[in-house]
Amino acid sequence: MAIAGEIFRHNLTEFLDESPQLHVLAVDDSLVDRKVIERLLKISSCKVTVVESGTRALQYLGLDGENSSLGFDSAKVNLIMTDYSMPGMTGYELLKKIKESSVFKEIPVVIMSSENVLTRIDRCLEEGAEEFLLKPVKLSDVRRLKDFIMKGKVKEGEKRSLKRMRSIDGSPPLSATCSPISLPCDPSPSLLSPLSSKKARL
C-alpha cells in the first residue's frame, strides 16, 4: 500500500516539476496593449505569443484553412486572450471561429474590452468565452486566470499519473495518499465558478 502511494507522489511530483508553462496566445490590434499584456503574462511565468489580429491568430493556430495540419502540435496553446474591438475580425468573431473548431474549441478564450457593455458581455459569455475582462487588464486578473487554467491542468496531470499507476501495480490508487490534491473528476461547468465573472460585479 505504501509503495503505491510513493509511486503516485513521485509521478505527480515529476509532472509538476516539469512545470509545464502555460502558453497564452494574446490578440490585440493596439501595440501598447500588446506590450502590456505580454509583460503581464511573462511576469506570471507564461509563455506568450502575441499577434495583432484575429486573422493572424487563426493563422498561428493553423485554422486559416491553409496549413491546418501544422497548427495544433506546434502551437499547443492553453489560453487565448483577445481584444474585443479590432478592425477586420472582432474578438467576438474570433471567439466564434475557435468554438466552432473541433480541434480548438476546448481552449479557454478570454475577451478583453475597454467598454463595459452588458449586451456585449452576455454575447461573449454565451458564445463560450471563459471570462470578460475590463481593460486595462491588471496583473491580478492574469494571475487569477492562470490559477484557474493551471487547476485544470493539474487535474489532467493527475489523470495521467493515475493511469500510469494503474498499469504499474494493477490496483486502483488509494484516496488517503492523495490529499490535499483531490481526485480527478469530470470537468464540469462548475469549474467556471472559481472565476468571479465580471458580469457578477456589475
Partner: protein, 151 residues
C-alpha cells in the same frame, strides 16, 4: 544632488501628477511591472503611446477637415483607439477628454467635436511635457528600489 534627494523629487513629481488628476492607478500598475531586467518598462510603453497618439491625432485632424458632412463614425473609431491607448498608460485627464469627444460624435455635433479636440490636444501636450520631465528626472535618480518580484 544626492540620490535620496533625487528620489524624493521624483516621488514628489509623481504625486503632483496624481494630485492634478493627470494620472490614475494604471500608471502605478505599470510601474509594478518594472524590475531589474526591465527598469524602463513604463517609459517604453509611454513612448509607444506617443507614437500611437501622434498618428491618431493626425488622422483625426484629417477627418475633421473632411466636412460636409463629418464622418462621425470614423471619428468615433479613431477616438476609441486614442482613448484605449491613453487608458493603458493611466492618462486620466486625456481619457476624459476622449470620452467627451465621443459624446459629441454620438450627438452629431461638429462644433462640439472641434472644440473638445482642441482641448484634448492641449491636455495631451501638457501631459507629454510633464511625463518627459518626470522620466528624465527618474533616470537621473537611478533605479528605484522595487519590491522583490517573486516568480
Amino acid at each position: 544632488m544626492d540620490r535620496n534627494q533625487s528620489r524624493r523629487q521624483v516621488a514628489a513629481m509623481k504625486q503632483s501628477l496624481f494630485d492634478q488628476g493627470l494620472l490614475d492607478e494604471q500608471f502605478i500598475q505599470l510601474e509594478e511591472l518594472q524590475d531589474d531586467a526591465n527598469p524602463n518598462f513604463v517609459e517604453e510603453i509611454v513612448t509607444l503611446h506617443y507614437r500611437d497618439s501622434s498618428r491618431l491625432i493626425t488622422s483625426i485632424e484629417q477627418a475633421l477637415k473632411e466636412r460636409n458632412p463629418l464622418d462621425f463614425n470614423k471619428l468615433d473609431t479613431l477616438m476609441h483607439q486614442f482613448k484605449g491607448s491613453s487608458s493603458s498608460i493611466g492618462a486620466k485627464k486625456v481619457k476624459a477628454e476622449c470620452n467627451l469627444f465621443r459624446e459629441y460624435c454620438r450627438a452629431g455635433s461638429a462644433e462640439g467635436c472641434m472644440r473638445s479636440f482642441q482641448q484634448l490636444k492641449r491636455e495631451y501636450a501638457a501631459l507629454r511635457k510633464k511625463l518627459e520631465a518626470y522620466f528624465q528626472l527618474a533616470r537621473q535618480a537611478g533605479p528605484q528600489e522595487t519590491a522583490c518580484r517573486s516568480k
